[in-house]
Amino acid sequence: MSQPASHAQVGHVVPLRVLFGVLGTLLVMTYVTVAVAGYDFGRLNLWVALGIAVFKASLVLLFFMHLKYDKPFNAIVIIVSMALVVLFIAIALTDTVQYEPNMIPGYAPSIKSNPQ
């Protein structure tokens, strides 16, 4: 930003060591996510899988996609879009459980609860 822009190299060159380190970590985490799928953590199963996926996604974003070295505004754009997806899913999930046929007794009797 400070030096004259003519013939200045734009962008950050990521060292090969970092690139291969990231790939190695991603491959190990892929193995881990397959391995932990064999264990039952009860309700935590989904969160363990999602946690690993978020970690892997962060590595791809930060290093492969240069976000670590990039203008912060680009990071804001992508983080906001992801936050909106999380918000969208969270609100939709809290909404869908409000429509159980037997949420209000006798209001919308389902076939299951009224075999006659």
Binding site: A5, S6, A8, Q9, V10, G11, V13, V14, L16, L19, F20, V22, L23, L26, L27, T30, T33, V34, A37, Y39, D40, N45, A49, L50, I52, A53, K56, A57, V60, F63, F64, M65, H66, D70, K71, N74, V77, I78, V80, S81, M82, L84, V85, F88, I89, A92, L93, D95, T96, V97, Y99, E100, P101, A108, S110, I111, K112, N114, P115, Q116
Partner: protein
């Protein structure tokens, strides 16, 4: 300004740096819309899985973990070669750039090839979405048809949670653990084909874009001063990888 400017600099930008930053913001905004596009499908996935976990527990066994895992590795490796290709173009290593882009493209072909094998197997077993769902593996023949829904004078006004699934068959939560097929399994395959299909379409588009920059790099268009298309195609390719990172555990590794 009287000084001549480089051929790649559009006249409405002052400097290559400004042009690069503007383009990069544009690409990130595009990637944000892509995340929102897939977000809708992830939401559909979340709603159906929350309401009918038995469908997902039962049906995910029909997906091949080995092929899915192999595809994850293929895509991760092609992400590395892409990131390395961006580095090569930044450093002006033309031959390395061409080799790495070719490898990335090869990774795309590998992914789509494995995807084809998976889709073909689903097709042959009748594991298709909606009304095309007609599984015919050997266990199915032994399972008797589900009993007809009990008659009632009540209209099922709220048909299923949020109206997602018809309520006429018993939503048997224990069915999956007994190996019996729960009702409405076709919903899983609808979600599977839509999510992996849209993702596969993105892989194809990415492969087209990589082919385009491969041809341009052979023509010698890129160097330390101008590597913008390589960088931006790379970002798109990494996003495709990013989405697969979530799709693989959510579809293949349900426990």
């Amino acid at each position: 300004m009287s000084h001549e400017h480089p051929p790649y600099l559009q006249h409405h930008f002052d400097t290559p740096e400004q042009q690069f930053d503007a383009g990069k913001l544009g690409i990130w905004l595009f990637l944000a819309t892509e995340i929102l596009l897939f977000g809708g499908l992830f939401c559909a996935y979340a709603i159906y899985r929350a309401n009918h976990p038995e469908i997902f527990i039962y049906a995910h066994k029909y997906l091949d973990r080995v092929l899915g895992g192999t595809n994850t590795v293929v895509l991760l490796c092609s992400s590395l070669t892409m990131a390395w290709a961006v580095r090569a173009s930044q450093l002006g290593q033309r031959k390395l750039l061409i080799a790495l882009l070719s490898l990335t493209l090869l990774g795309g072909f590998g992914f789509m090839g494995i995807k084809f094998v998976e889709y073909k197997a689903k097709w042959e077993h009748g594991l298709l979405p909606g009304t095309h769902f007609a599984p015919h593996d050997e266990h199915e023949a032994a399972v008797p048809a589900p009993p007809a829904a009990p008659q009632t004078t009540f209209k099922p006004s709220a048909t299923g949670p949020a109206g997602t699934v018809r309520h006429d068959a018993e939503p048997d939560a224990g069915a999956a653990s007994h190996g019996k097929r729960p009702s409405n399994v076709q919903i899983f395959f609808g979600i599977y084909f839509l999510m992996t299909g849209l993702h596969g379409l993105h892989v194809l588009v990415g492969m087209g874009a990589i082919l385009w920059i491969l041809v341009r790099s052979i023509k010698g268009h890129f160097g330390p001063e101008y590597f913008t298309p390589v960088d931006f195609v790379g970002l798109y390719w990494h996003l495709v990888d990013l989405i697969w990172i979530f799709l693989f555990p959510l579809l293949y590794l349900i426990s």
